[in-house]
Amino acid sequence: MEPRQLHDRLQAIFRKVFDRDSLVIADATSAKDIDDWDSLAQINLVVGAEAEFQIRFQTAEIKALKNVGEFKALIAAKLAERGGQPSATR
């Protein structure tokens, strides 16, 4: 998946989770940049990304996510791991 495409799809998830259609994210965007980014939002982002990309995060990864850049890298790694093929995540 192209980095740009991944970015746009993740941004769409952020917009959905924070319920703001004009939200723009950057790699450095973290919880301190978005008011509502609390633990509840964190878990919503994870659930949204899992559904969108058909991947599954580990508990430690969920806890460790600090900013958009890390989030993207993790998603890209998981997509690469399965060779870009759709996988059964359950």
């Binding site: 959905k16 633990s39 878990i43 919503n44 659930v47 969920i62």
Partner: protein, 599 residues
């Protein structure tokens, strides 16, 4: 644009009432969790709007959770909003439900809830025998009911995926799956009377256990189940809340063409309609709803005769005309017809749900009767039953007399059997039935039923004399003939007209030409009640005696001992005779009363 976005634009455009209607329409179809969370934010804004707030009914719900409630609470408010409730919530401290319930000074009681939801999961079931654990929950229910006087909602336990004992677990009484299943059964048996049990175990099975339980989120933030599971839980809890508030839907109005069958009755004719398995399954589902007490009604754009024809000419139809409490087929608009149906059934329109395949009709009803729950059937008829069932519109908190409904004969019958088992003393049993009977001369309006009884009754029939309708009508006009038709009802149901007698005056005798009774009501002492009436008739006719015959047939043995058991004696001609001077009325467990409507 999604329904949710449209609702948001309408609100921002200054039309909160239309926004609320749009949001409710959007909630009628399955929405994923994140969309529901956003819908919940919108619902909260709408619920606070001065134009919408007065249309909502406030209700105070306490949530006693043993896991995180942060996502559950907005979802509960959302589902309440969908059904016209303004849900005020008390969020008890996490895991503190025993203290909250047992301490009369707790925040729970200060909140004065109308309903309390025990939001628990399998981790809350303490080890040990299921009986002891069930008793612990029952005592919590009791304390809650006694102290708060509120309705109690609690879910049963959602068995986990993992089974350390493997397949053996199903058979274990004191641990694992076997124990949990037993505990769930015990809780289900003891619920009712103020406690409504939410079948979380079923919900988890419907979704699939591996999708329901997400151990990662339990570790991360004590989420008892996946969010996908949680949305289903919230919808189910809201349906039960409505049920305990008495706001579940009471009547389902269905369309006909492309809903109960494929095709258009007016064009294709009864013979040309598609009654494939999908439509029949849907009909069977509706029939099951009707049997548990949900009223069914038809509202169809059709000529009345064309709409009825498939019911009359297609025997494979699972639904019959008499399954419907109202049948409206015309070319009026559906909103007006729904109001008329509600009036006919003495309901308000907010007790109605409509299932219809036509998006335009659905939209019209949402617009003009927003209080009606609209189930827009789409796509595959094989999935209609599931689409309707998913809405949880007819939830009830407990099986009750009203729930079994006026036409719920099946249920009444099984209850009657249960009573019969419990009451070993027949007199007490019959008395407990609270039977009411009414007897009077045949009337024109009952003639069809009387003639049917005369020509069909084989068992409890003294003489098995048949008569046509004109012959029976002639008897009604004959000055020497007296007739009696008898209706019976009890507290479990109405049997309608079940017995008929024809008497003929011959000199000083009143002769029993015909005496028959439907075998559905054998063993109720209704024949004694009728006997008392015979004595009265004989006296009124100035007769000195009653005389009757038993004419044996292959089938009428049940009537053989009727006359001797009532004190009749056989005379030299072999006829049964009773002198009125010596006759006494019998004590019967049946009141004189208007047995309500005929069946």
């Amino acid at each position: 644009m999604s329904g949710l976005s449209r609702a948001r634009s309408l609100l921002e455009g200054g039309d909160p009432v239309a926004a609320a209607a749009e949001l409710r329409a959007a909630l009628a179809v399955p929405l994923e969790y994140l969309e529901q969370m956003n819908a919940a934010k919108l619902a909260a804004r709408l619920a606070a709007d001065p134009a919408v707030a007065p249309t909502l009914t406030p209700v105070r719900l306490a949530v006693l959770g043993s896991s995180t409630t942060a996502q559950l609470l907005p979802l509960l408010r959302l589902r309440g909003f969908q059904e016209g409730l303004q849900v005020e919530l008390y969020d008890a401290p996490l895991g503190a439900y025993p203290q909250e319930i047992l301490d009369p000074a707790s925040g729970l009681y200060a909140f004065k809830p109308q309903a309390a939801l025990l939001y628990v999961n399998y981790r809350d079931a303490r080890p040990g025998p299921a009986e002891a654990e069930a008793a612990r929950w029952q005592s919590l229910w009791k304390a809650l009911k006694d102290r708060a006087g509120c309705a109690v909602l609690m879910n049963n336990f959602d068995a986990p995926v993992e089974r350390p004992w493997g397949n053996l677990e199903a058979g274990l009484a004191d641990r694992g799956l076997g124990r949990l299943r037993r505990l769930n059964a015990l809780l289900a048996e003891s619920a009712g009377s103020g406690v409504a049990l939410l079948d979380q175990e079923h919900l988890s099975a419907v979704l699939g256990k591996e999708r329901w339980h997400d151990p990662r989120f339990w570790e991360h933030s004590m989420q008892a189940m996946s969010f996908e599971g949680l949305t289903r839980y919230a919808a189910e809890a809201a349906a039960l809340l409505l049920a305990v508030l008495g706001r579940s839907r009471k009547c389902l109005v269905v369309d006909l063409d492309n809903t109960l069958w494929g095709g258009v009755a007016g064009d294709d004719g009864a013979a040309g309609l598609d009654l494939s398995e999908g439509y029949l399954e849907f009909q069977r589902y509706l029939k099951a709803l009707k049997e548990r007490g949900v009223l069914l009604a038809v509202c169809s754009k059709n000529e009345e005769a064309a709409a009825r024809e498939p019911f009359e000419k297609r025997p494979e139809m699972a639904l019959k005309l008499d399954d419907f409490a109202a049948f409206v087929a015309n070319w009026e608009d559906k909103a007006a017809n729904l109001r008329a149906i509600a009036r006919t059934l003495s309901l308000t329109t907010d007790a109605l749900a409509l299932a219809d395949d036509n998006p335009t009709e659905c939209a019209l009803v949402r617009r003009f009767c927003p209080e009606v729950a609209v189930v827009e059937l789409s796509g595959d008829p094989a999935e209609f039953a599931r689409e309707l069932d998913r809405r949880r519109l007819f939830e009830s908190a407990a099986v009750s007399a009203e729930d079994s409904g006026r036409a719920a004969h099946f249920q009444a019958e099984s209850q009657r059997r249960k009573l019969s088992e419990a009451a070993t003393d027949v007199d007490a049993f019959l008395k407990d039935l609270d039977m009411r009977a009414a007897a009077g001369p045949f009337e024109e309006k009952d003639l069809a039923r009387v003639v049917q009884l005369i020509n069909k009754t084989n068992q409890f029939n003294l003489t098995t004399r048949r008569a046509t309708e004109p012959e029976t009508r002639a008897l009604m006009k004959d000055p020497d003939v007296r007739t009696l038709s008898v209706r019976l009802a009890d507290r479990l149901g109405d049997y309608g007209l079940v017995s008929a007698v024809i008497l003929r005056k011959r000199g000083a005798c009143l002769e029993i030409d015909t005496w028959l009774m439907s075998c559905r009501v054998l063993g109720r002492r209704l024949e004694w009640f009728v006997f008392n009436r015979l004595l009265a008739e004989a006296r009124a006719a100035g007769a000195a005696s009653l005389v009757g015959d038993y004419l044996p047939t292959a089938k009428n043995a049940p009537a053989k001992n009727l006359l001797p058991s009532l004190g009749f004696e056989q005379d030299k001609d072999g006829r049964w005779r009773l002198e009125l001077a010596a006759a006494k009325t019998l004590e019967v467990p049946i009141r004189n009363g208007t047995a309500t409507t005929a069946r």
